[in-house]
Amino acid sequence: MKDIDSVTETAIEFEGVIKRYGDAVAVNGLNLSIQRGELVTFLGPSGCGKTTSLRLIAGLELPSEGRLLIAGRDVSRDPASERNVGMVFQSYALFPHLSVLENVAYGPSIRGLKKAEAHDKARTILDQIGLGGLHQRLPSELSGGQQQRVAVARAIVQQPDVILFDEPLSNVDAKLRRRVRSEIRALQQEFGLTAVYVTHDQEEALAVSDRIVVMEKGQIAQVGTPEDLYERPASAFISSFIGDANLIAGRVQSSRFTGAGLDLPVSGNDGPASLSIRPERIALATGGTARIESATYLGSRMEYGVISGGMSLLVSRPIPETRLEPGAAVHLQIDPAGVIRLD
């Protein structure tokens, strides 16, 4: 995937990391390496171990088994305070009794800078991040978006080996999310930071990441670029988790798939098979054996529920096309490039 000559350095390396809480296994055998300057997202359903993986990097939890390396050093037994990691918490976790400036200067002064130097450093970062006039405010006197930026400033002021975000947008107004997430992405690229980002919103993951790690029940389900995951999901779980997908079960015989009233060319062995087809890869033409069951207007597109061969399929079409009404008989036209054979 990477060019051979652009030698990259590994920032974080999980080697068979397991984290147990009592009998429960939160992270089960994680193997992953994250390159320097990369933004990697942990994505997955609730309880799959995203936060735990992040906290393992921060040192807020220690692995029960396995090794964790940051910048080539084994930190498996080092506490958070002895790693060089910045973290932006879901609740921002700003110190309510300290001003914005003191919040950002806290880290540098802990690491041994004189008060004046620490304040200078904090001021520089705050100005860069666009919070110039708010140095003396208390966190409670800031808006949610401003608090978040202070949290980011506080996390990056010490040039950490890696910066961690745990669902940073969950407390941000829905309208602001798009802007804040591109700000975070821009900042990460501008400072050349290695970042690990946790979210359970697949759209957010697709938008910000260099690579996405999809997790399921404490294990990695698939790792890849956003395109990889969307276009080439490795399993039914991935294809339905990232974007919408029609999962169709059927049979393959001499390179043709039959099922759900479809007959499509596919590659691979004969036998039972399942396909994943994205809703926007299906076009509809009037007349045929399939029938429109529902039609929903979504502003930017139409979403149709179509019954074909006894199965219900989801189809997404741009608006300008002629609107089809429920009950209409249709014929499904499937873009062969959009057909993914799973299993």
Partner: protein, 721 residues
Amino acid sequence: MKQFDRASFGWLGLLLFSVLILPWYRGGDFGASALGEGLGTQPWLLPIAVSAVLLAGLALTVDDWRRHVAILPLSIAGLVLMTLQGFAIGLNGPLIPGIAAIYPTAEQGQSGIGLGGLVTGLAFLGLISDALAARGFCRGERFAAACVVIIVALLSLFVFFPIIKLGTAAFTDAEGALAITPFLTRISGAELWGLACLTSRYSCGVVINTVVLGVLSAAFATGLGLALALLVARTDFRLKRTLRAISILPIITPPFVVGVAIIVLFGRSGVVTAEVADWFGVRPGRWIYGLPGILLAQVLAFTPVTFLVLLGTLEAINPTLEEASGTLGAKPFVTFRKITWPLLRPGIAAAFLLAFIESLADFGNPIVLGGGYDVLSTKIFFAVVGAQYDLGNAATLAIVLLALTLAAFWVQTRWLGRASYVTVSGRSDAGLAAPVPRWVRVAAIAAVVPFVVFTLAVYTIVLFGGFVTDLGRLDLTPTVSHIWTAFSFEIGAEGLRLYGSAWDSLITTLWVSALSAPLTMGIGILTAWLVMRQDFFGRRAFEFGTMLSFAIPGTVVGVSYIVAFNVPPVDITGTMVILVICFMFRNMPVGMRAGMAALAQIDRSMEEASQTMGAGGARTLRDVVLPLIRPAIFTALVYSFVTAMTAVSAVIFLVSARHNMATAYIMGRVENGEYALAIAYSAVLMIVMIACVALIQFAVGHRNLGRRTELQGAPAAQTAE
């Protein structure tokens, strides 16, 4: 990285310094260290010095020494060796046969450990915690690991070890050998279980007495508390604020002051007694000494507690339930019986048990008013300080008392664990509560009025009794002569000179309180933080152990401390240290509760943020946690301070001629019948206490409390989705 190294060499440096230089024994010289004494006449100290030197050598020669396999075994070995030699060789020679064969000089015995021993132990503990942290204990957080290990060691030494020592003392015969028969003889005697009082003029066994007193006093206190709570929560009775204020009084009242006031009122030459005798021409009697007097005093003292518990329960009962019953046509009486009463029952059980436990532990009132009515706490006291000094008996009685208390606590947790449905839903809004039936109201007022009158009478006596010539003979001429006897002073050429007989005890009390309050607060809050925020093996057991020290009655603590700490290796009886330590471990659970409640309100990610920014546990605690839990710190400080000033049950065993405490001094005056002096001193004590609390508030609370309330909105606003 450099800082990391320096920090972990700290314990090692401390260890070497103490083993090589600090005096191992109490009162020793510098240089009479483990090494010095070990090379001299105490060769059993040498292995300790050797393990210290081995540790140092290892640390200097290997990389990443904290993770080296030999560090943990070596430091544990050092600690174990230290403990073993301490218990194997006593003051007068070996305590374990065979030691003399290895170390002939052990025949001379050894004295208690001093600075060197103490610091060495501490350093070994620190090294153990460091090695554990390097293996992931407390998520690798060294400060937290050290705190856990050291607190566990302190609890073992100052809570569990004394209780175990007490247990062995109960099983020791006259020759000092372990045996079961003496225990069985003592515990089965008529002295404990006799029922003679039912059939004759002789008194019953002391366990019977204690339980009877406990049940009666809990029943009366609960009844009164219920009456008060009903009046406050369910009627338009106008005295709410007064009643709440009165309920604070017992906290700052030395426990036997109420008893003294009762004697002044009803004693043989008491105010009321004399009047009644005059009017009716009867001879003044001694009826107040014994069960009636103790009961009266205890009911007065415990009612505020039951009142608060029951008020909480009543306020938690959703009035709409009662209203619903009313709208369904039920008469007030039916509503009360069918709805209010069943919901109230668990609260009543809780109040009853609480008062029962307090009565078991009470020492001040029975000692003052007991007469011939012995209860366990006083019996234990007389077995230790009385003419028939019998430690084995005291220990046996203490074990019985401990068992009774633990049983009551056990019932309490079992019962209340299941009965938590009381809090059906939120608090009642003002004025919505269903009124109680008329007869309940009348009965409540009938009970409460005498209580209030009585309380006022008692506190009038406490406040003014010391400042009139002779209250008993109704000579009300104001005088300061009692106070002057206690607190006379002179400002002469040499400056201030304190002559009064009470100065010593007051100054000691202030010292002990001032020293123990911050220590108690510190260990309580620290423990709360460990329990709430750290993740380590055995955390549950740790929490349980800390809470246990709260369940042990004061008299039991007192006896167990005498048994445990009047001989080496830790001989500290008769010092001020033992007083401070005693308060520290008795009161730490309260600070812990306050700290846990406060920490539960604070988003822990703030601490985690501090850690990711490079702050270790200690720094995080100082910079982030403490500023945010100031109110809890204040509560813990005030409580520890006030308890240290008013407590009597445990300290009465631990005071000495040199270090007497105010409460013990006052009790001495009461025994001599110098009531006016006792009361005057009590009043002074209460005033000093209030002044000190105001001072603490000024120092800790004030400056930042205001800012805190304004800030509380911040985290809430952040987490709102």
